[in-house]
Subunit: 431 residues, 4 copies
């Protein structure tokens, strides 16, 4: 199938041409510095070139809060428009070749055609996200009292059926994973019995699990709170891994960086999930307070690095296997979503690159010697390294832009879309 | 003006008649126990009878999150319907004689008529809440980049004008306070200059202040985060009190129990604001994680008691005056809002009653003697007391229901309204 | 063996005589109120009379922080003096019949004699606490780099041996449980490999497990942080339960109320541990910020009630058994430890009593009907009840004091001990 | 006075010689890259060369927790040994020319001689730290119930006198600032009256203030909790700035990065203190949970950068002046304190350097245009830059080591001191 990428390759090329000398200087300088540490920059670049992260279809639109949503002109409203915007992100950044769809938001009548449409844009499909936290117009039963854990058997059955529908759609789209996040929980002490809720959740999830193709994974996403504000049925990684254990080997745990209690050591949770064979994937974003869904690495880039430090450790020491799914999950409330996805994908790839240049032999040796300072400095040296030239070189070589956001701005994409696309209404806010 | 209360007085009376003997037994038993501690139960009851808390017009509707809102049949959609529901709350609970309106949500063409309508229902109006955190259809300029602190002078002027309009409306409604909460803030480091944002906020707020009638107060409401997730312009009580100091004596600080950092000692903040002459009022609710807007006293009733313990201390030792405005501000996502407001108002009045029976002479003496255990036990004794009979007796004597929620359910109000009122659409969720 | 209790029974009796009429009035009043709810007060009293909680030997001394410790005259310094003080607590409160010792702090040469000494004082021994978080004078290897998870095999062996010694001591003392809490962890990213540390911990813990008598339990105590400030090897309930699963059926999880991340729903964790068959026991205390080790129920008594609400649920619905060990673990920095232990034991017993009067049929019915408000009010009604008369009556009937702290003060115990006991030196602080 | 620096200059020189070529390559490469952004690397280096941060005398020893302290061989125990170790830090790092002493810990009989001793080592003295959170042997009255806020007038007078003594010592040492941190607070609700405690604190602090020389500053250090676990008298920046306002213009606020509630935006607090003219200084460290006193920049280096971003903004826009005191305040529980102070000072200087290369014109322009992404990327570009070559070059040119920690290790300093110095006893732990 011939690809029809959204932006002009010529334009990208001329963007790159103007920056090439500087990039070569930076890349070569970094190459010499890394060589002095025993690191081959081209090998790192090759690793980076092989790295990718999925982007969420809904992330192509502006997000909002219960108070308000402020749309922007040219915002996409259909899955087709969203795919086009995601294609822009991938064309420029070259690290986001897959889109993670969300149903029923992205429902179409012909999924084979949608898959082809995506492929033409250079995109494939990642994990399917089901939605049982909202009621849709015309839906028979309400999720107001829960979905997979609801007390009402009919509601549970409806939620199970929806998830099974998602698997079927995913099959047609070429996906091999189903991400399940439920909003089920309580706002009051006493509202539900904690154990009976979980029993119901596990029983319903097992029915979805039974419908999973052999090569699929079911990714359980835990969340401490919101939309439920007293308890949630899968509130933490402990509940998540115990549920995954009960469901079976295809069930794994998905870590969203913003779904934890304050101060929690997320990189250790990543290590624990891997240690017990249940690390399934990530929803990358950043947060300062709660599930803020901010741009990856914008608040605590060191934490992002430390998470990738665990991932590289896990890759090198796979124990029961290591094949996590990486996805961005952000709410772009105040930026152009395309710019946020480009900047976030780069931050994630940068954390991966930094973790890749950690001197692991020195690290292990320092750990074995209880040489705490040396162990720490080994990480710090990698973290401090500015790996931007490696990312830029890998991007350019893959047909992307050396400096993707300026290249995007120069393309005039959003202004053009503002002419072509329907305007989005105000989000009135729910409060 | 003849009052026309929403529920049948006969029905309430017969509800009470069936419970009167039990109440008398409970009240008399508690009276004897309190007398043994030197407390006159009738004096406490008289205090409770004089206590009141305002309820928010928007609290009469179901709340929601960015993920979804689940409406209920019979939910009010106009200020008129909301007033009717608030009147039910007050008739049964007898402690919520005032409604705090929100503009433009509660806009009508004739405010004198609205005031009369409320009075007929037994209600008055409390602090006016302005809204510059959302864009309204047809609004000239957007608040997407801030309101009172916006970089654009036109936006600031629009926000100032709206607040001045609110004062004018409030005058007509008989209100004497304006509560200002803005969603202004940032989602990214660097998005704004912290100091210049505050400068603009203070300049704009001063223009609103200048329009304030002499007997009005301006209540500044701080909030740590949401809708902005990196910084907010008035994020904490420190920013709030410094702003109030700059604005002048009519500016005071309003404390919302859910707007603080985790673990913060809110009762001490209350004491500090009083100590420095700037305690203006409260938005009561409860929270476990963030601004959860849960029902007052449902998560941490001891904290609510400790807050009232400070308020009674302040009342007894007024320093620069003590006249705080009390209001409920909750989001009723999973309950009938009338029931939540009744239960919350009772919890608040109960905290007030418990704080009123603290043996303050013993407390001060223990504090002076550094007798920590005795000081603590003095509070504990008051907190442990079940003051329900006092509240019920005061309620009944004021024409309310001994057990308001069963009385409300028996009235069939909501089912009747579900017949009469227009249905509310689904909140699609913003995510 | 004839008991020789520390305080004069006559004195307690005359204390009670002066309060008996009031207590009868309160008890009878509450009895009538409970009867109206269908609850038999004498049955509740019988339950309370069967409830007990262990107290820690170290809790008999003043605690402190890294900044300072302020001793009090008459503070105990030996296990013999500590037992005497614990006996005072139990004699007056009648709910603390067991002492939980800590080794090597409580080492003696003859454990059979110690057991007899305790029995004479009316006390038995509860779970043994091992200590591998400090170095003792003369200790061969240091725990500075960890104990059960240390990289050095010799250190791990030393820690294993110490735990096995504790089991042997425990056997002699009549204990049937070993509580393991380690300070192992890191202060820097990179200091240790998370997975290899846990591997070592599990391997060493398995050696201790292998030495456990058949009727013993090993209680794993997790803690988020302190003394390690970046990571700890058993940081959360997730790590704890996975470790307990690997070790075997005698390994269970112990919950300390102060060892969690901010905002975490501890009562749900309790329910989860029970749901998965691993709820082993509790260290009761309270906290506002971290592992503050404050007196139970002094900060958030509602949370304590909600925890006991889960425990009663678990008792009624035991799934894989329910037999948790209850112990107080507090640091009495600013009070007389005897008074704090009395007040805390009463708070814990009170939470148990309140949870026992929850109308569970009504609760389950409301839950099944998704009647959130009614479910919540069912808990609230029980929580609001002042159960003090039930506790006091049960205490008096068991030979304790109606009002134990005034009775303790009247006994002059501490002043007498200040004459008899050696003074404790200043805690210089570590900072 | 002839300086007698602790380490051999020859050794440092030969250390540098072996690294010079690599440094020049790195420096020149960075210089070209910065030049392409319009930044002159030599100007940045000159700024860095002018930057310094004080180190605490107590930081030269190992820290610990209430559970244990693990000393290391060669640890300093007297102020003389501590100065020698601090001189090592400064000789190698060249950014720590001043030591902040703590009394009575650092008491000597002849302060003029101490000042001379320090000068010989290349050191001066920074802010004096008083200590009223511990009792010293022979001290007349105890601080167990507070110090500057104590209910007992004699205790307050003793605390005031101690602070005035500190000022007198500071005068002799050449210091111009007094840092006041008190442990005063409560562990129980009701223990003290919040307002009366603050009244007493303010009255006592005013007496200290009155003794302050004209060119001195009094730095008020707030802390949320620990050693007090329910409330502290100066718990947050709001209390701190209000106290500083009442005391007068010489009173300023000191920010310790670990003394805040979880999730708090510390960089905004810095901006607020500057905006209101009360930013006095810093205690640098890092933390993940509470007042962990970890090495600066080891947990959240991005936050450290954002703090310095505010400091550079304040420097450029001084409003009511800008002259903050910078000091490290860390607890080195698991490392050689000399290594931690070197690594931390470098992290702090690095954050300063990164903040210095932010393109402030572009930042302001993006802010004014509400171009959020561009504003953020302007900060990100500076943050990502590896400024190590600038720091190393500045260090080398000032006589320090290109790579200070390896240079320190090569010097054999600690092993030599382990021979010469008295061993430190175990910290038994307080628990």
């Amino acid at each position: 199938m011939a690809k029809e990428l959204p932006l002009s390759a010529d334009q990208i090329e001329s963007h790159n041409a103007a920056r090439l000398d500087a990039l070569h200087d930076d890349y070569d300088s970094l190459g010499r510095a890394l060589a002095r540490r025993g690191v081959d920059i081209d090998a790192v670049k090759a690793r980076v070139a092989g790295f990718s992260v999925a982007i969420p279809s809904w992330g192509a639109g502006r997000g909002g809060t219960r108070f308000a949503k402020f749309p922007i002109p040219g915002e996409p409203t259909t899955i087709h428009e969203k795919l086009a915007d995601c294609a822009v992100v991938h064309q420029l950044s070259t690290v986001t070749p897959r889109v993670s769809p969300h149903f029923p938001w992205d429902c179409v009548s012909d999924y084979a055609a949608l898959r082809e449409e995506a492929a033409t844009l250079g995109l494939g499909f990642d994990a399917i996200n089901s939605n049982t936290f909202q009621d849709q117009p015309g839906q028979q039963l309400s999720y107001r009292d829960g979905s997979l854990s609801a007390g009402d058997a009919g509601v549970r059955a409806q939620a199970v059926d929806h998830n099974i529908d998602c698997i079927e759609i995913g099959r047609q789209l070429g996906s091999t994973a189903l991400t399940i996040w439920v909003g089920d929980g309580t706002n009051f002490p006493g509202q539900q019995d904690f154990s009976r809720s979980l029993d119901r959740y596990l029983e319903a999830a097992a029915q979805v699990y039974a419908a999973l193709p052999d090569d699929w994974r079911m990714l359980l996403e835990h969340k401490m709170y919101e939309p439920a504000f007293y308890s949630t049925v899968i509130a933490d990684w402990g509940s998540s891994i115990l549920a995954a254990q009960e469901l079976g080997p295809k069930a794994k745990c998905l870590v969203d960086l913003g779904h934890h209690a304050p101060n929690v050591n997320i990189e250790q949770i990543v290590a624990r999930l891997h240690r017990f064979g249940k690390l399934g994937g990530f929803h990358f974003n950043d947060s300062k307070y709660g599930d803020d869904d901010l741009d990856s690495g914008s608040i605590n880039p060191h934490q992002l690095f430390l998470v990738f430090n665990e991932l590289i450790e896990a890759e090198l020491n796979p124990r029961d296997g290591f094949d996590p799914a990486y996805m961005i999950d952000q709410s772009h409330n105040v930026t152009d979503p395309i710019e946020s996805m480009i900047a976030s994908a780069e931050a994630i790839a940068g954390a991966y690159a930094k973790a890749s240049i950690v001197d692991r032999a020195a690290l292990a040796e320092a750990q074995d010697a209880n040489d705490t300072m040396l162990a720490f400095l080994t990480l710090r040296k990698a973290y401090r390294t500015d790996v931007s030239p490696i990312l830029a070189m890998a991007r350019m070589e893959a047909g992307g832009a050396i400096d993707p956001i300026p290249a995007y701005r120069a393309s005039g994409w959003r202004a053009r879309k503002a002419q072509e696309r329907d305007a989005v209404g105000l989000g009135a806010g729910i409060v």
